[in-house]
Symmetry: D2
């Protein structure tokens, strides 16, 4: 208990209550404040039985010496000033996606945290699910073989956002997962984006991202606010195995298929004669690994606490958030220029 | 029986036997020949108990006055000469997809059939499934409302083709379905294509098509030879209803959702202020319509016979095949030029 | 707030924390105590941020004049003394299933509550799900037609209980649902039970109940602790519609099929000639009604509060609990006597 | 071809055409006749393109020296006389389920075939599916461990039969599968049956069978003509693994779960104290074995031909059919006597 980290949660809107609840369940954290400009909303979130204090004064929070860290769940535009103020006050910072409203601000934030030796972490929640942990293990250990294609679908009847298109709203989830599971040294080198706005919203409500990866593979993301059914699937195709992650199927989230396509060496053939290339198909069993069901947000909160206590970068630090934003900004450029590929500077 | 149409099936490979079997079950058709350069293969397909004749002579088939129609299931490159010879001999022609190897040849074929008053039909089999018939009815009657987005996925561990990429191999299915179900006057105006070849095949094995439709909506097609699981889904999103077609779920192929997004008139608001646009969500029941299970190929064959007997164009005539090829050729152009949109001349 | 009901939750084991959480979220309830013989466990459940008091003294709870109601989530054997003491102290009582350890005790409890004008409610949680509410509506309005068969399956790798067989552990869920949804006047008249103990546990781990209903239909329940997969389905077959409830399929819990079998009047036939009876099959659409997702336990808690405030019997009162216990005791008798039907005195 | 077996199919009703089609595809079989009292029906089944002869004369069939075997797909009541006449004429016999209309007749048939050294085979089609073959392998090799419970469900909107109840119509499938996959020496020792007739059909339309197996386990079968949805599942629970067979899920028919319940030796405890028995739960991966898709009926027909050519008993011979009938007759007795267990003489 003497190692406990005093925490303030900033923002009592959609996500803040989840942060409060999971921080309360984290042994190493001592939740002290829930701060919102609308203090009544903060009080309502805390309810009638809580000893945690509600406030509308961010200054009071930052002035509290018992607060060592803040978790920011406010609208994106406010992430930069709030996070920068917290860093300036010597607090560790956890921030919701997207990291900031602009790439420049994001870079400043990362630099500021590094200069001060403070933790700056992005709440890339999905990375802390058992499914993504196992997916990453399969990729990083080589069991999957070389990554050949990735196809991610994230669609449902979503809350059409007034000031952000569907790519900025939903694709950060897919991109943060990609960032987390791709093997070291592999990342997006170019992105093409297509969007449609069939309901006259003024911004795309249906979006497609196509990413060229540095290893020659392609990753594809489909995000959509207009679908009446909820689909959350990601297929990661590898040279040895292919994994299908269906997040809507709790009894079998991951299915690992030992099937694939081998290109056989065209031994006696003219090597340039593509038509004679021999393809062999493997077909084997499917394994659905036993996954521990757990709340991803709790694991994320534990990682935040651990990275503070152990003075190390978190698994999904500010730099990971920057990489996601770089792809989103390139996607915006592609949308503006008719959907062709936009090359990114690789920042890794 | 006196109205029966003498038929010859050309090609005893992958698809030919299916044509033979379904033609045999069609009352108005009298199957007379199965023709293949490899006559032993033709004999093997017919088996030990058949009264149908096998031959390797296409001339003999065309010379037979009892043959009024031919069904061509040979490699794509041979479609044009075989079909043209049949038309020249005064025979009606059914041809597998794609119509021909090139758009020019396709146009010549359509013209030739028209000049001679003969039926030229494309075997767009999927259009004759109960599911697509019902989908089309929902679109054409207006029950679906305005089409807002279409997303089609057709992936599985396919036979990697030696001389054709995955778009030409699989996307004709999706494109012929789109062509069939879109409302009159709505069609593709531009297409962007992305492909990946992660196994070093020399041609894309994973492909994405994005189509801009003339009504402002977007259609998307994902085809993939490398997936260990078979997915055949199409989501057709409308302003009134959205339909999910899952062809791998025989007990519930179509699900019609009465949910959607409405854009409310921003009555008292500045009409230019997009941020204040009010979106309302409807949520209602899902209906899975009872579909008659039937073999689509039989219905297709019956349509071929009926169009001949009734001297009328078939539901999926040569012109429909041309429209599919136009999109594929534009897609090829997009692939070559980095994935940006290629505008098509609308041929409707 | 002046109408709020002071509540104490008794038992901090498996279910108690859920009661605490949902009671805290119920506007009309003011949670005052969590009582457990192991006060440290109670404190741990409440956590570091709660204003609710932990205690190991049931007397202190009953002596607190601010407590108007208790919710009992302790082992079954203690239900009777704890509930009776609460009633004697003038408190309303909510009790977990089964109501008591014996039918006699249950009857005493029901009588005592009635004599004192207090609410005695059973936490038949499933009855408060949207799915069961809709199922009941379909039955009670007659939309389903006459109930013809009911088949319930509740299996998974459960916690093998040391002192109770699988029928007493799991079947109360199915039986309380049946009790709730059957139309007025219809109930079980006889029950046959079969059990197996393939792991040498000393009591059945796999159990089957067959209930003859007073309307001639049959209800069947399969409960099983040994299945690695979790199945929670109930099929309610009616003369007009049949409903399939799959609780493991959140996106489509209820499917209402407009199909069935009609027996046609054998008009011109010898009415005794069963072989000539004409059966007609109807086949129609399936509708998956839109259900509001909500936590059943919260709705149950709200019903507890409302029944207290409105001085009326709750939807699942003590008498419903008695009916469930009567079936379980008859099932025990059937198990002991080789599996034949045991007739129950109908207590309605 | 010189080893080919001349075959006549008897009965051109529901199943006969399937036998004809699969016999035609079996290399070692030469189909010569399709015989039906209604010769026009036989002709219609054969169609316009067949060289096989239709007849209504069973005598002509039996007199044909080129016929070495008959496959009988007529109503159950006629199985005995037709099969006996064929055996008397020296023909091998394949017969649909049930073997005969009565157990006595069945025994005579088995004896007659044995006396004459002829093959008598039951068309237990399901036993020849890849799924049942793999299930049997898992049981017989011991990979499953000891069989602990079996639960089979076979329900759908069936053709309500005029002269047979649902148990005799559908349960032979489940019972023949059980017979095939249980380990040597394990079989049913008693059976209890419950049935309901909610539509006034005069015979049960919903039926339940509970079988006590000789190893202490229990098998359960649910058959139902009145369900609008089709369910075909069998769960085989073993001490090491549990297998779920879902025949409606072609992409994953078998799921093998490496989970279960272990009973630990209560080492230091009083061995009589059941309450202290320690149960441990294992939880592991699920494997869906890759199965070869094939038509079971073709494999069955091949087994018929092979058993004739190799002068050996077929995998599902007449004796297997007798065992199925014994259970059905005991079930009838249980139905008549109120649903208690009826002990069978074990005939193995």
């Amino acid at each position: 208990m003497n190692a406990s980290i005093g925490l303030a949660v900033i923002g009592a809107g959609y996500w803040g209550p989840n942060l409060v609840r999971n921080a309360m369940a984290t042994e190493a954290i001592d939740v002290r404040w829930l701060c919102d400009l609308d203090v009544d909303r903060a009080r309502e979130v805390l309810g009638r039985y809580s000893t945690i204090s509600a406030t509308d004064s961010y200054d009071a929070v930052l002035d509290d010496p018992a607060v060592q860290a803040v978790a920011i769940a406010t609208p994106a535009a406010s992430h930069f000033p709030l996070a920068m103020a917290a860093l300036d006050a010597g607090k560790h910072v956890l921030v919701e996606k997207p990291l900031t409203g602009s790439l420049d601000d994001g870079r400043k934030l990362v630099q500021a945290a590094e200069d001060r030796g403070l933790v700056l972490m992005c709440d890339h929640t999905y990375c802390y699910t058992s499914a993504v942990q196992e997916l990453r293990r399969l990729v990083h250990t080589g069991e999957l073989g070389q990554v050949q294609f990735i196809d991610s679908v994230r669609i449902n009847l979503g809350l059409v956002q007034p000031d952000v298109n569907v790519l900025w709203d939903l694709a950060p989830h897919d991109l943060s997962i990609l960032d987390y599971l791709l093997p070291p040294g592999v990342g997006a080198v170019a992105v093409a984006a297509h969007g449609a706005d069939p309901i006259g919203h003024g911004m795309p409500c249906v979006g497609y991202l196509t990413l060229r990866l540095s290893n020659g593979a392609m990753a594809h993301v489909h995000v959509n606010w207009l679908s009446p059914i909820k689909i959350r699937t990601m297929v990661v195709g590898g040279s040895q195995r292919t994994v299908v992650w269906d997040d809507m199927n709790p009894s079998q989230r991951l299915a690992v298929y030992d099937r694939g396509v081998d290109r056989l060496a065209p031994r006696d053939l003219d090597p340039d004669d593509r038509k004679q290339m021999r393809i062999s198909y493997r077909s084997g069993d499917m394994v659905a690994p036993a996954l521990t069901e757990r709340e991803a947000l709790r694991a994320m909160m534990t990682e935040f606490a651990s990275s503070i206590l152990e003075h190390r970068p978190p698994a999904t630090g500010g730099v990971a958030g920057l990489r996601v934003m770089e792809i989103l900004e390139a996607a915006e450029e592609s949308l503006r220029t008719g959907g062709s590929f936009v090359t990114m500077e690789d920042t890794r």
